[in-house]
């Protein structure tokens, strides 16, 4: 499909390397149009109007002498993607920043199908810009729900409920009821000549002293 684009202002389309004056037209293919966000934006903002080439007024297949139904040229409408507004609220409570977002996304609509239906139904009456605006309203939006409504008090309790605090540790693990048959079950050995151990302890003591003095 080839479109005929007509400039409604003096503009420059950098992506297509074109400088155009008001009223000038140029041809562009559907793929060119779809791959150029700049062109889409210009169409969306109403600087360029886009029409399908060779979509001349044509008569309907039914002819009679009384009525002549004229079909208007097809108007291609631009679907302007509404910028997704993502709102992140940062709340700083006692040097703790917790960001929590719940992103609720509405089901994706088939925008092309919707646009085609609108064009067919309203093409003859409403401008492409108006249709674009209407379609834009139907675009999926992101709703950011901020669950950051915790008070400083609740944050405090959250900090205290760490994994460690939540872990249950049983008491009285060593039962006094247990009867042991002999004095000890462990093997005892003596490790002699452990100068290294004494040296390590002295070195550690010295190092700690130096660090304390610094």
């Amino acid at each position: 499909m080839i479109y005929v684009a007509q400039c409604l202002k003096d503009i420059e389309i950098k992506s297509l390397r074109l400088k155009l004056k008001q009223g000038q037209t140029f041809d562009c293919t559907k793929s060119q149009y779809e791959s150029s966000p700049e062109l889409k934006e210009l169409v969306g903002s109403g600087v360029i109007s886009l029409k399908v080439k060779n979509a001349k007024s044509s008569r309907l297949g039914v002819h009679n002498n009384r009525f002549q139904v004229v079909r208007e040229p097809k108007v291609v409408k631009e679907v302007v993607e509404k910028p997704v507004i993502k709102e992140v609220i940062k709340e700083v409570i006692k040097e703790v920043i917790v960001e929590k977002e719940v992103i609720v996304e509405k089901p994706q609509l088939d925008m092309n199908a919707l646009a085609n239906v609108l064009i067919q139904q309203l093409g003859t009456m409403i401008s492409p810009e108006a249709i674009a605006e209407a379609v834009a309203k139907q675009m999926p939006t992101q709703t950011v729900v901020n669950n950051n409504a915790q008070t400083p008090q609740s944050m405090g309790s959250m900090n205290t409920t760490s994994d460690e605090a939540l872990t249950f540790i049983p008491s009285n693990i060593i039962s006094s009821k247990t009867i042991v048959s002999s004095e000890s079950l462990a093997n005892e050995t003596k490790s002699e000549g452990s100068d290294e151990l004494s040296d390590a302890l002295s070195a550690l003591k010295a190092l700690r002293k130096v660090k304390n003095n610094e």
Binding site: T167, E188, L197
Partner: protein, 332 residues
């Protein structure tokens, strides 16, 4: 008797270390982390065989090395209260058994609230395991024994025991049975610590799968004595293969973790790697380790001065813990 006690809580052994009355003599008490339950009817037989046991909840529990002998006698597998370095959730009697083992290995405190440093593993980087419960339970057990409990990183104990001449800077690796613990320290400060959920048990299981044997058989082959650099049969070859894979895994993770988490650390001079733990006792382990390290040395992000075995690999952790416990009194 000197004050302070160190305790190494390992998957295979519990070892306590304390200075005895004699100069520079360390008393080590060890118990194998193994038990077996027997019915009350077996009591007479255990007495006749002079086998020590404890009676808990109508059960006879044989602990330690004797449990292995009794298990062999009854044709059963010994039960282990720790699994992969942490308290085994599958063993209902774990806590009772561990409580008595720790009490036995530690003995009575020399004074009320004597300081006891005990080893805990770092969180593994390759498995989803929680060390919080493990740490909490052992803190409670040590306290119930009458000590002031101080949990401390297992691999850091190797640094304290073995790198005094380097000013307590180095990489300590504890190749244990359940996992391998790694710590990098600079002048006593822990810069990086983590563990990998692979150790001696992982080698046994892997080798057993490869040759169609049981893990206990592979463990027996290992403990009987094996030269990793010259395996004599298919079983030893499989063990050797998994040892190499374990060393590679540990070294790769050291490099990866250092790049990810230790980038802020400034190493002014090369530091040593000191290897300890029961799994490192296999014949030729250090040669094997050095060989694997040489292949990775070029791309290793830490400048290493030397790779050496701990002077007492099996007791390096308990001795390191003892040093930490003793310094509590030196500060008084």
């Amino acid at each position: 008797m000197s004050k302070g006690v160190g305790l190494d809580i390992g998957t295979m052994n519990l070892v306590s270390a304390r200075m005895s009355g004699k100069k520079n003599e360390v008393t080590l008490r060890r118990m194998r982390d193994l038990f077996i339950d027997l019915p009350q009817s077996a009591k007479k037989m255990l007495r006749l065989g002079s086998v020590s046991y404890i009676e808990a909840d109508d059960n006879l529990l044989v602990l330690g090395d004797e449990a292995m002998e009794v298990a062999n006698m009854f044709g059963r597998e010994g039960r282990r209260p720790l699994k992969a370095g942490l308290i085994s959730a599958d063993e209902i009697d774990s806590l009772t058994v561990l409580g008595h083992m720790v009490k036995d290995v530690l003995g009575d405190p020399s004074h009320e609230g004597e300081h006891c440093y005990f080893s805990i593993p770092a969180a593994p980087v390759d498995a989803n395991m929680d060390v919080v419960y493990h740490k909490g339970v052992f803190t409670r057990i040590v306290q119930e024994c009458g000590y002031t409990a101080h949990p401390a990183n297992e691999a850091m104990a190797i640094v304290f025991a073995e790198t005094a001449k380097e000013g307590f800077s180095g990489v300590g690796i504890s190749f244990g049975s359940g996992m391998t613990n790694i710590a990098l320290a600079i002048s006593t400060i822990e810069g990086l610590s983590f563990s990998v959920a692979r150790g001696g048990d992982w080698i046994d299981q892997g080798a057993a799968r490869s040759v169609g044997a049981t893990a206990s058989k592979m463990c027996a082959v290992k403990e009987k004595g094996i030269d990793l650099k010259a395996p004599k049969n298919r079983e030893e070859e499989a063990i050797s293969f998994y040892y190499k894979a374990l060393i590679e895994h540990a070294l790769d993770n050291i490099a990866q973790q250092f790049v990810m988490k230790g980038g802020h650390l400034t190493l002014n001079k090369p530091i040593p790697i000191v290897v300890g733990g029961g799994t490192s006792l296999a014949g030729g382990f250090m040669d094997f380790f050095k060989e694997v390290f040489e292949t990775k040395k070029k791309r290793f992000p830490i400048e290493i001065s030397e790779v050496r075995h701990a002077s007492d690999p099996l007791h390096a952790v308990s001795k390191g813990m003892l040093i930490l416990a003793q310094q509590e009194y030196d500060e008084d």
